[in-house]
Subunit: 432 residues, 2 copies
C-alpha cells in the first residue's frame, strides 16, 4: 500500500506523517492561550482556530463538542471516547489528504490555512493532560532482571510476584512536566558510605542521577470505585501514548525506599513528550510483548491479543560541550505486561480511574547491552562508565547534560508514526 | 478561662463547640448543590447562604472572596491562606458568641438563621477537598516498631532510615472517599499458603482486611517544582486536619509489595472525616510528639517547636448484629515526625505541592496494648483474636462490620475541638 500523501509538504522523515495525527496543547507569542492542536510535518494545526474557522463543517458528529479544542488540556477531548477520537483523526487525515473528499474545507481555504497552520518552532508546548493520578509500573522484564541481578544476584533477580502481576507503585502527578522543562538535580538524604555503621545520612545533591526510558499511557474513560475494568474492555479506556522519562535519584532511592518504595527519589520530576499519539494511530504496529513463562490468572489473560506496539525507542545524551551520543536503542515490545493488563490489574481491587490518569510502563530495556533503558543498568550502578562522543564518560548524569528520548514506528509503506522528542536538561542542585 | 458560650444551644459533649469551627462541604435534599459550611453543635451553618444573606457584612476582608463559599470543595477557601482562615474562623465565632459584638448580623436576624442553619442530620457530607496528590507516611513509631517485630523480629524492627526521615509513599488520590461511603472488600492476588513453593497466587477476596487509624492533613498553599519548603515556613502550607482510615488488604499487600511498596492493597479505598479542623483550632492543643533519639538533619530540625497535637483518638467496631466495641484508644502525640516535617521532607528534592494535596500521618498506635491502630498489630497478623462485645471475635474485618474513628481535643475549660466521625461499612467483595 502506498503511504497516504498530503497536499502539505511533509518531509518523509517526519514523526508527524499524515498516518499519525497526534494531539497536544500549544500556545504562541501571538496567542498565549493554551489550546488543542495536532502536528503534521513541521506544522501545528491549531484545532481551536480550525474549529472557529468552520474547519469541522463536514464532521457533524464533532460539532456539538467543538469547545473541547479551546481547552487548555486534552481532558475534554479525551473524555469524548475512542470512537470520537477515531472519527476526528480520520477526518483530519481526510482534509489533509491529497485528492481528499473535502478540498474546499482546508486545501483551497487559504484564510483558514493562514489562521490555523503554525510552524512547530513557533509553538510552545504544554503538558497535554491535567493528570489526576500517575502510576508507574515495572513491566520491562529485562530491566527488572538486570536491576535484580545488580542487587540480589541472578538467582533471585526477579521477585516471586514479578511474572504474576504487573508490579507498580503510585507516583506523584504534580511532578509530571512537559518535555523541555529544566530538570533540577534533587537534594536529598544519602549515605556517603553505604557500608559504614551506624548509618548516618547527609543532605546532599544527588550523586547518582539517572534516567528511565518509558512509555506513558493516558486514560480517557473513568471507572468507578469498586468496579474493576475487565481485560476485554480495558482498551476502551486508553487514549494514547507518550514517551516518559522517569528521572531517578539512585542514591536517595537506595536509602529511602525500605519498606514502602521509592518516594522523593522519583517525585522531583517526570518528563513526558508533548504529543499524545492515539491508540488508533498505533494499531498498525500492534504486536506481542515478551512471552510470559508463568501462566497469568484469567483476569489478566489477553488471549493472545496483540496489545503491545513495535515502537523503536532511543536515548541520546548531549553534553554541555554539545556532543551527542545515542546511549540506548530498544523496542517497546520489551514489556511483560501491556497497558490493558496494567489497567485491569490496577482496578481489580476497585481503584477508580479518572480521565487524564497516567500509567507509566516501567523502564524498557532490550536484551542486548546496547538496549538498556537506564544508566544504573548500563554502568552496573556506576562501576562501568559509558563512553561518549568527544571522549567524555558518564557513570550518572552531570549538570548540563541533556537527555532526549525518541520513539517511532515505521510502517511497511514508510509512513512514520513518531512521538517527537522527550527532553530535559540537568540544572545544578539548589544550594541549601 | 471560662469556655466561649454561644447563644445557640450547644451540648457540652459536642465535637463542634464554638472553639472549633471546622469547614466542610454539605448538600441537602432542598438544595442539592454542594457548598461550604461549618458545623456548630448539632447544626451546619451554610456559609453559601450566610454569605448570600449578608452574614459577612462586618468582615470586609472576606467580601471580595465570598464566592469561595459557593464552591463544591474547600480548595478555593483553603487557597486564601492561613491569615484569612484565621479571620474567618474568628468572625464566625464572634457572630455565634453570646454577647458578641455584632448581634444584628445573625443572633437577631431570624431570616438568616432560617436560611443558613440546617440540622446536621439533614446534611449530606461530601469530600471536603479536590485532592491532587495524596501521600501516606509511616510516622507512627510504635506502629512501625510493632509491625517490624512481627515481620523481622525486635532486633531489626525499624529499618535504618526510619528515625532519620519520615518514610512515606505516594498514595492514590482517586480512591479517597468521605466518611460513610461503603467500603467494598477488594479482590486481588493472594497466596493461600505463603510458604508453599513455587508461589502460585489466586484471585480472591481479601481475607485480611484491616484498618489504619491515621490523621490526614490538607495543604492550602502551592509550592513550585524545584523549590523546597523550609521547615520554618511549613506551617503556612497546612490548612487543617481530618481523621483518615487507610483501609488495607494485608494478604494482597504481602504478595504485591516487593520491591516498590503497597499498591492495590491500599488504593481500593481510603476514608476521611468530612469536617476539616483548622490548624488554628488545634493550636491550643499543640504539644511535642515522640522524642527522636536520632538527631535529625538540620533541614528537619523543628527546634523544639510543638508541632504535634494532643488529639484523643479511638477506633470502634460495630458488628452486623449492632454490637459496638472500642478496640483502640490512643493519642495523636504518638508520631515521630510532624506534618511540617513531612511536608519539608517531601519537598526537599523539589516535589511541588498544590492546594488540596493530602498527607497521611501513618498508623497511630500508642505504646500500650489498648492503643494499637490496626488489626495487624492487635491480632499479631491474625494469631490472637480481638474479643468483641456480644462474644464475637475478629482476626480481621468481616463483611457488615462498621469501623468508626473518632478524634477530639478537650480544652482545660472543657471546650471540645473534635472531628466528628470517620466511618465505613464493609460490603462483600464483588463476585468476579
Amino acid at each position: 500500500m502506498a503511504p497516504l500523501r498530503s497536499w502539505l509538504n511533509i518531509e518523509s522523515s517526519s514523526d508527524f506523517s499524515i498516518a499519525n495525527i497526534p494531539f497536544g496543547i500549544i500556545s504562541t507569542a501571538v496567542d498565549p492561550l493554551p489550546r488543542v492542536a495536532t502536528a503534521i510535518g513541521s506544522l501545528a494545526l491549531d484545532l481551536h482556530a480550525f474549529a472557529q474557522g468552520n474547519g469541522f463543517a463536514r464532521l457533524s458528529t464533532i460539532q456539538p463538542h467543538q469547545s473541547v479544542f479551546s481547552q487548555p488540556t486534552l481532558n475534554a477531548f479525551a473524555a469524548l471516547g475512542r470512537p470520537m477520537h477515531r472519527v476526528c483523526r480520520e477526518y483530519i487525515q481526510s482534509i489533509l489528504l491529497e485528492d481528499g473528499p473535502f478540498p474546499d474545507v482546508f486545501q483551497n481555504n487559504h484564510a483558514l490555512q493562514q489562521s490555523a497552520l503554525i510552524p512547530l518552532e513557533e509553538c510552545r508546548m504544554h503538558l497535554p493532560m491535567q493528570i489526576g493520578d500517575y502510576t508507574d509500573f515495572y513491566a520491562g522484564l529485562h530491566h527488572a532482571y538486570n536491576v535484580g541481578v545488580l542487587f540480589r544476584g541472578p538467582q533471585n533477580a526477579l521477585q516471586p510476584n514479578y511474572k504474576h502481576l504487573p508490579v507498580g507503585y503510585h507516583g506523584r502527578a504534580s511532578s509530571v512536566v512537559v518535555s523541555g522543562t529544566p530538570v533540577r538535580r534533587p537534594n536529598g538524604q544519602i549515605l556517603l558510605d553505604p557500608t559504614a555503621e551506624p548509618k548516618q545520612p547527609v543532605l546532599s545533591p544527588c550523586h547518582k542521577l539517572d534516567i528511565e526510558l518509558e512509555l506513558g499511557c493516558f486514560v480517557c474513560k473513568p471507572s468507578k470505585l469498586g468496579e474493576p475494568v475487565a481485560i476485554g474492555k480495558a482498551a476502551d479506556y486508553l487514549f494514547g501514548l507518550v514517551l516518559l522519562n522517569d528521572w531517578s535519584a539512585r542514591d536517595i532511592q537506595a536509602w529511602e525506599y525500605v519498606p514502602l518504595g521509592p518516594f522523593t527519589s522519583k517525585s522531583f520530576c517526570t518528563t513526558i513528550s508533548p504529543w499524545v499519539v492515539l491508540m488508533d494511530a498505533l494499531e498498525p504496529f500492534a504486536t506481542h510483548g515478551l512471552k510470559n513463562d508463568a501462566e497469568v490468572l484469567p483476569y489478566l489473560d489477553e488471549k493472545d491479543r496483540k496489545a503491545h506496539y513495535a515502537i523503536d525507542l532511543s536515548v541520546s545524551l548531549t553534553t554541555a560541550s554539545d556532543k551527542s551520543t545515542v546511549i540506548s536503542t530498544t523496542s517497546a515490545k520489551n514489556l511483560l505486561f501491556s497497558f490493558p493488563q496494567m489497567l485491569t490489574h490496577h482496578t481489580i481491587g476497585g481503584c477508580p480511574f479518572n480521565v487524564g490518569d497516567l500509567l507509566g510502563s516501567g523502564t524498557i530495556s532490550g536484551e542486548s547491552a546496547s538496549g538498556k533503558g537506564c544508566l544504573l543498568e548500563q554502568t552496573e550502578n556506576g562501576k562501568v562508565a559509558v563512553q561518549l562522543e568527544g571522549g567524555e564518560q558518564r557513570s550518572f548524569l552531570q549538570d548540563g547534560d541533556i537527555i532526549t528520548l525518541t520513539g517511532r514506528c515505521i510502517g511497511e509503506n514508510g509512513a512514520i508514526v513518531g512521538f517527537g522528542s522527550c527532553t530535559g536538561r540537568i540544572e545544578p542542585a539548589l544550594k541549601l
